[in-house]
Point group: D2
């Protein structure tokens, strides 16, 4: 099972803490973590996953695998810039969004377009008529995020 | 001056009408229209622009230029699927969003990430704390959209 | 009719001269020139085409349209790096290769894979068993290259 | 260490046999195998690697991870079509090419452009003036290919 974790490359400390715990629990559940391979939320989730023996994939925008953060097990150097945001989410059976800026927003959009389940932790609210209009599952803790993601990913794999 | 017009490939009639008028006025102002090259809003804006002698670029997801709508002057067959959404907006000096679904949302995200001015006609509201949190300039008419887009694009070119 | 012209961003003077003449004749025949938008052969072919009133499309690797050479009418800022090489050839009905290094080689590969006619002026020889093994049409002059390209592109369009 | 193995999705039996042995030996040396994730040479190398407990990455052209061959441990669904050929080689420290058609040719081109060492088993000969003109290291057996690849990849990593 592959779970994508998305969020900004520069994030507040509390967001990084949440991402790290998400990574830890994902690894404990046996899920592979895929992310954009850079800093901030991406680095924190990889650090958490690695600390529990997990496998982490970093889908990088650049051409050089060595640009990945140190907790990426396998860097994929796409060389396609931020068009790689699509690949990050499409390779997963569920997506956990933690906070996030415009890059994360593009990843949310691609996941929703592909009907990949999205779990949101304090992330973008998307509306068309003033009320939320995207099937993002809102949760309030790292554990809840992983529970939802793993359960929805299993349905998707089957 | 190149202006991107983004919106869904399947849209209500009134949205298509607005897109067509946007295309007409853009052509009258001498702007080149760039879009995703498919149906719906993309087709309507190209039809409008062509009817006034404008030039239209369609940046297609597929590998075959002949998949463009009939009002595309120059189809670009990227072959990179919906990763082409990034190229649509990055090639423009301003973006006009008309309605739109998740594909349009990804284009908004890429434009905002690149600081390309975005003008919105009944499009996504993006918020992080319950209040709008993206510098989308909201307008209510085709003419107003073009006025804003052209004026902001000129500043960007200079 | 859209003809791609491919070659290195840094090329000998005589190659640039040939590229410029190819651009001039393509414009005189009413063909739109598409290329990678940068220097060397790409710049020379655009300069030639523009000098005869032609339209030139530059499909750039980067995110900034202003990186195009000055003779590009319409820059497409793909932001996908050298993955844009695929888009350059797929958007054309025929390809003219002038000299070229590894980037050009990838473009030849994509064109051949898609059965887009390729005309070669002093470009790569590709073989699998010691003898040429790719349907590149070898020519010796700019005029011959354009004649072949235009005639094959017409068949492809129909 | 990550080694890319490239070749056609439809290949003669003896080529598949060679690819399988390459996969086996790579896994025995502890190398991660990256490839395009589809059939033919890609499937054979994954099957070989998995049979020896190796880890295999399949960088797919499509949007659906389930399109990977059954011996891919981790499918990356890029959704960018054959522009993914660039990502396959750039993520590796060395490339082994086995036979191959035009897709493989584009991968060779990207690897050579990026100065990633390329080892060739009965693959394309590339020349500009009638004599080979690309630093492809020619070998005659699966074992020799892996020996060269591993030794060059180690230098690159350091």
């Amino acid at each position: 099972m592959v779970i994508a974790v998305i969020g900004d490359s520069s994030c507040p400390l509390e967001e990084a803490k949440v991402a790290e715990i998400v990574g830890e629990i994902l690894a404990q559940r046996g899920a592979i973590v895929i992310c954009g391979g850079l800093g901030g939320v991406m680095e924190a989730v990889c650090r958490g996953a690695k600390s529990k023996g997990g496998l982490t994939i970093g889908v990088l925008p650049g051409e050089n695998p060595s640009m990945a953060n140190p907790w990426v097990s396998i860097p994929i150097a796409t060389g396609i810039g931020y068009a790689r945001n699509m690949a990050v989410v499409k390779s997963a059976q569920a997506v956990i969004a933690i906070g996030g800026n415009y890059g994360t927003l593009s990843e949310l959009a691609y996941a929703l377009k592909s009907n990949i389940p999205v779990i949101g932790l304090n992330t973008w609210l998307l509306s068309r008529n003033g009320q939320e209009d995207a099937p993002i599952i809102r949760v309030n803790s790292a554990r809840e995020a992983v529970d939802k993601a793993v359960s929805l990913a299993k349905k998707k794999v089957v």
